[in-house]
Subunit: 672 residues, 3 copies
């Protein structure tokens, strides 16, 4: 089954509207809604006083309508009474400002009062609804990722550090506290990163982000275990969200959820929206696959999910948040984006939100039922999409085959967000997305791998090519796994700023990239970041952007040389045979086109082919299980060869030979 629906907030509406809601859901083919995500103040209007009547009624009504419920614990947004009763449970900024209620996510996850209140409301919900027939999934909390710097956090941080580092000497060593006279002589001296006179210690900041991820995970696990005990047969998830401010290492978290659920909001209005959708879908599949076969999934919903299946829990029905404005999607785009997630492993498409609110901070966030009501383009497209998902449901499933993978590493991202880096335009997320985009545009199916994950080395064996963009931090173990991958015949493409430091952020000495020098056969003796807006010529006619380096080869073959500046003639892109494999080093930053040409060369050499060779530009082809999804994101019809005769799984229509996909259209081929 494929899930279709979204966040539903009946508490925002008069009860007489609920019947219309359920009727419209049925009209649209909604199969599941997320309920109660921000309902704490309606469920527990004052401390310890509960009001479940309304939730009972809507759960029953939804069940009667055949709609399943992902029931949330509402712990992401404590009610105003919590602030007054437990001021120490409010988050504090690095400047020492204690935040107040009036928004959302206003809590300190290390505060016992918050944790206790969260357990209490979760336990109440578990006790009351564990056996409710509508309940299909527990949706714990919402988008974990908040941050606090208070004294309670400080205490928890110290405990975490004691476990991670053992003693103070080890911590002082890992954090290089000898720099700037920061050596700690007592655990009590260690605080969360707070406002300082000048630059902070990057290792301190990095460990604090790791701590936050684990601390938040602790809060999740606490609720999960409580829910699992109350109703062992219902799977449990929380919705992952990505953002520069989010201190959650989802690759680690994935092992703790029954179902990987993801919120994804692309930010590109033009072609970018499609590449980002593909990126989000592939990364989510990576998290899901990386967790291996979950032992704990149970219940109807989660049963039989393949390792790489996941669930799109939130996306925006009708807008793309671009810088400066909300871009309304073009007709058909909602459908294409949604099916692209499904093609990439999602078990459906859920939205934030069902009905656009009349007020509140996000009153202009889009919804399946907008302010204009069901007589509107977005609701009409939703009805069609519901129908499409219904057609696909019996056939969708199975794996998305890929021989290429890109690395994703949250700690490297965090490490590259600090100040004091050699260039201000270093952007981890952009670097990873660029590599993924090049593969996407070349039509090559792509997975993600996570160098910090247990079993990383074993997972590498599944791939022919692996890309390492900005893998700044790397452990000795992961470096060894990568070496072995190459030695065993793999093709590894290492970009600049990879392999630089150990997991504590200490530079590996002797020449960059310290962790990979041997199998790359190069040694970088000097970074030469480029000024914003300038480029450096390469001898293949391309231009380097953002970054250049003085590279010395030590065994590697020079494929491309720098052709300008003081680096003229020096190696820029190198290729090293190592064992049975090949290790590339890409020193300069490249534009999209130059990178794509490089990617095409590497894939050709490695014998990795696109999903569907001969695909016109602006078209996307994704294989999942028995299905081949064909999207036309362009403005001209696109004719594509098919693997063989088949039918369109969306319509049942026969597809005997090459097929023309109309602009904005989708066809899902299923072979005979």
């Amino acid at each position: 089954m494929l899930f279709f629906g979204g966040d539903y907030n009946p508490e925002q509406w008069p009860e007489q509207l609920w019947a219309e809601d359920v009727a419209l859901m049925r009209q649209a083919g909604v199969t599941m809604v997320s309920l109660g995500v921000f309902a704490w103040s309606h469920l527990e209007p004052s401390e310890g006083r509960f009001e479940f009547g309304w939730l009972d009624r809507i759960m029953d009504r939804l069940h009667d309508g055949g709609i399943r419920v992902a029931l949330a614990t509402p712990t992401a947004s404590p009610p105003p009474w919590f602030s007054l009763a437990h001021p120490e449970g409010l988050p504090v900024t690095a400047d020492g400002v204690r935040l107040t209620h009036g928004s959302r996510d206003t809590y300190c996850v290390s505060a016992p009062a918050y944790r206790e209140a969260a357990r209490r409301i979760a336990a109440e919900l578990a006790g009351r609804y564990a056996r409710h027939p509508a309940l299909a999934l527990w949706h714990v909390h919402n988008e974990y990722g908040t941050d606090c710097r208070c004294d309670l956090t400080a205490a928890a941080f110290r405990s975490w550090l004691q476990k991670r580092h053992g003693g103070l000497d080890a911590l002082n060593e890992a954090w290089t506290t000898a720099f700037w006279s920061q050596r700690y002589s007592d655990w009590a001296q260690i605080l969360p990163p707070r406002a300082t006179q000048y630059l902070p210690n990057p290792a301190h900041v990095l460990d604090f982000r790791r701590f936050l991820s684990d601390e938040l995970l602790g809060a999740f696990v606490e609720q999960r275990d409580l829910l699992r005990q109350a109703c062992p047969e219902v799977p449990i998830t929380t919705n992952f969200v990505q953002g520069g401010w989010v201190s959650v290492d989802h690759a680690r978290w994935a092992a703790e959820v029954d179902v990987v659920a993801v919120d994804h909001y692309p930010a590109g209005a033009d072609g970018g929206g499609e590449a980002e959708t593909a990126f989000g879908g592939d990364l989510a599949r990576g998290w899901a696959a990386g967790r291996g076969e979950a032992e704990t999934t149970s219940g109807d919903l989660a049963r039989g999910w393949a390792g790489g299946e996941w669930l799109l829990m939130e996306t925006a029905p009708n807008l793309i948040y671009t810088p400066g404005r909300m871009h309304a999607k073009e007709p058909g785009r909602l459908t294409r984006h949604s099916l692209s997630y499904v093609a990439r492993g999602s078990r459906g498409a859920m939205y934030f939100q069902w009905r656009q609110p009349r007020g509140g901070a996000e009153l202009f966030h889009s919804a399946l039922v907008p302010h204009a009501g069901p007589d509107s383009p977005v609701f009409r497209e939703a009805v069609g999409l519901g129908r499409a998902l219904q057609s696909l449901a019996p056939q969708a499933g199975g794996a998305v085959p890929a021989r290429t993978a890109v690395s994703w590493d949250a700690p490297s991202w965090w490490a590259l967000q600090g100040g004091g880096l050699p260039a201000a335009d270093i952007d981890y997320l952009a670097a990873v997305q660029q590599v993924h985009r090049a593969l996407y545009r070349s039509g090559v199916a792509t997975d993600f791998v996570f160098p910090g994950q247990d079993g990383f080395g074993a997972r590498l064996t599944a791939y022919t090519i692996v890309f390492l963009p900005h893998l700044f931090l790397v452990s000795d173990e992961s470096a060894a796994a990568l070496r072995e991958f190459v030695a065993g015949g793999g093709h590894l493409v290492v970009g600049h700023l990879s392999g630089i430091a150990d997991p504590a952020g200490r530079v590996r000495l002797g020449g960059y990239p310290g962790a990979f020098r041997d199998f790359l056969g190069v040694r970088v003796v000097e970074w030469r970041p480029l000024a914003p807006g300038t480029t450096i010529a390469l001898d293949n006619g391309d231009q380097g952007v953002c970054w250049s380096e003085r590279v010395e080869t030590a065994g590697a073959e020079t494929v491309v040389r720098y052709a300008g500046d003081v680096l003229a003639g020096a190696p820029a892109i190198t290729r090293n045979r190592f064992g049975r494999g090949v290790a590339w080093y890409v020193s300069p930053g490249l534009g999209d086109d130059a990178l794509r040409r490089l990617v095409d060369r590497v894939t050709a050499e490695a014998g990795v082919t696109p999903v569907l060779p001969g695909l016109p530009p602006e078209m996307e082809a994704v294989r999942r299980g028995d299905l081949l999804f064909l999207f036309n994101h362009g403005e001209a019809p696109g004719t594509v060869p098919l693997p063989g005769p088949g039918t369109n799984a969306l319509t049942g229509r026969a597809l005997p030979g090459p097929v023309t996909v109309q602009p904005g259209g989708v066809i899902v081929w299923r072979g005979e």
Copy 2:
């Protein structure tokens, strides 16, 4: 009589300079000065100890020189002793930072200690100067508009909310607190908007700005009543200032002052300065007219002011504050700006400030007597201006006739300042100024109307055309008044983002603009804001900017269609006959020229003509009472027809027929 003068701060100068001041004032024709605006620390150097000798002496000296005094209560800037004695009377930011003295406006208006200190100094002044022969006007405080988020403010806010909403249920409903779990279960939970984790609740923010306006008004009324009791015959005012940070709804305040006094500082150095001057003057006249016939005006100064008369209390003699620098006015510009205010209803022209200070935060703010002294271009121009005002004084007065009005609504402005809007470039002030500018450039006299004001419907009957730019919030009553205006034969032009929400900021459902759909004959089902810098083609050859929408007509005639993007062919500008009138809907943003063409079409259709048809570009014509002001802001001489033979009221010279106004020049025609 016309008032000419400015803020005079004798306490900044050695007493021996005072005689020169008065002599120079007489030379310049100064008729009134504002005294004591920031003199609290000189009047009450320590708590309860008063020093009035110097003020006595300068009041006497001014009176001897024939110069009247607008005597200020100095309560906008408490002295340093106040901070030390009453720290709880200092303002606190949303981040919890308690501000200190060392600037100005350092007080919490909700703090009893501040209110008491303010009453005490006001009472002392009232007691001592009520009968002083120089006293012409009480100038309470200065530019009300400050903000505080402390606990005392919280308590006052709660009281205000209780009056506005009655019970907590109503407040929860009005604020849509069901969104993000914000339901309040106790009044004590409600705080001013303070630093939060993420977006605030816009209804909370909006009500806080309303509260601040009323709270500041309470402080004004307290002083006003005390002054009125002490000397009932002297009129009382406070100087209104406009700015995005100012939480004062001047349309509401206007009813409480005896004289509407306005500070106005245009920010456009090029032609913009003139359009802004016209905007500021027309808006001030609107505030004054909107208060109707004031019952309370009394005393010589205020007697006989027509409803629309007001007083320019501050403007800069010789600079325009443009972004990045202070632009010195070109020769003659001071005179033209000043007379433009007079033409638009001001009873004179007052400046900040008389003498440029040697030190202090604004030591480079311009003055009538600059650092260079009276031997300077600005003082020489001031002398000429004083003479011009003296010539006009016996003839100036009377109403400024206008058949067109634009809406102004402070709460809509506040509502559109928040985050979370569909586009970051939404700018209420700019939208209103753009419509006014189009009318200004077409030479059409324009008033302002205030949809939140009592008697709004009745005031509409005075106009043939009304424009509603960005009237985001609108009550049912005002919507009904606008419907009646159209039904009765009016021409109403509604721009996008108007009629969207009720006064609490809750969206009116079923399609935008919920409040006006019926008489506009349209239904907007989707907003499609444009990316910054992009445009959308219209089928009349114009380009839409900033904003587009999917509009469905329901009775309206489509006048202009979108011609690009996914909206091609859909309605962009519509026109609906409703009752005896016409209601236009303008969906896209328009550039200045396109908007002016639309305005010209609407005015032509409605039979509204310019003040003086055939006016060359860059010229401005304003009628007030018997006078016709003709300004040439351009660089070429401009010849204009005259309504008939007359004289130049500035010079007494005969104006028999068409007259040529020199570049930078002004002629004031008065018919025979």
Copy 3:
């Protein structure tokens, strides 16, 4: 002897690496290292517990290697234990945020607890190492310049103000507290500048920066006296750093150090780097020369330094911090920059830092031994540089002759950093650097003079031409000295924004520039700042930028007139014979080329010639003592005439006649 070396932090490295360090130092010709700058937490790991063993060992080892030590007191960065034990010793921002450890410079210099801790560690070091044979120099603290707004600071500020102003009346007068009701009636009311509602009082801010300079100086003097008492024969310094945030008036400080030591980090990657290097070197020499013959220098190191000699204590070996990225120097640039400092009076070239750290906030800051190790371009160039300095050492020394000087005035800089100025692009540092750059490009040797310094008038007599860029504040005494300079035959070039105010920041009335009107023969009656990006034509074909004014001559000859805008025909650049000299007034801002043409005219008229006439562009010639340094910063060989036959002091090679300097090369001519 010339010093070559840098900051050395053995505490960051395993002790087994120290032998390699010393060996590499010897290989590079290092003669001195700065030790212990940030070692407090290693020297005193908990309060009162000291660990000197490691320092003993490295001091001995360095001594054995023949390397001298500039031993630092580590007081710039208190250890974490200090924060916990003495929270009142932490700095507080203007917003009231108390900063924490975790970076560097985390102390309040006015806190007794900090001062006591600083004296204690300094005394311990003095006691232990006073007689150590490696000790060559005491390096007190690091880059004094931090800021605090706490109550302890408030008390110290009040004491300082009492000394400066005497009574409250004088302070009220100096600060123009009559503006905005700021009159103080009790000393307790005076606070450091803290967060305010609106603009602060600029005189308050200015005096606070003066106070900070003196307060920090007090902390330095306290350590200096203690060190001097313990070992009178070792000279004492602290490293000056420059930056907009640094509240240190180095011209005042120079009198208190035995050796002027300077940290200098140019920010221009292109030609700018060279001009900035020259600027930094000349300014440092000015500070050193301005202190006259130091009475206190003693010991081997400091003996015999001529008045203008100084020491480059820190610069970056291999990067230029440009906006947005670190620019790696081109080959040879390290050598040229270093020798340019030496040519301009430095007694060597020291770097931050010896070895690039593995971690910490500045792990990518460059070093003589980079992450790549000694097998790297930067270390190889360092070895060559060490050899060059060794060759020069016996010959370098003596004065840098100059007949031209530029004014430098820290308080004027501070005064022009505030808000409320007529233009946002006023930039004191840029204005001074621009004048210096014009002289640098014309090859004219340039000194600096300090109008606030004792003996300013006497120092002026050494010069033929003096430039006053943005000398905003000037005392009556300095103005008189400048008048006398002109009367006595000097050529004075005054730019706009000079001579405007007295040292308290109070404008001198009657027309700008109040202090200099008489001998300039002009009177400026109006400032007309230009909008960013716009220009104003001058009648010599140049364009004015940033600034224009209405200038009236009163005796001066008009050399250039404005040719555009309302100023057309009015004087722009004037020249006034006064006594036996000439005083120029330059009203508009000028571009680099226009300014250079003006500078060339003034120098020609005054008979001041370049160091080496006929120098090709991009080449630099500097005379110091018997040596003539010739740098080619360009990309083409440059042939230059020589004063006569000589030898290249770097190589001993004969230089019989005109010599060709290769691109990027240096020749140091020494006459026979």
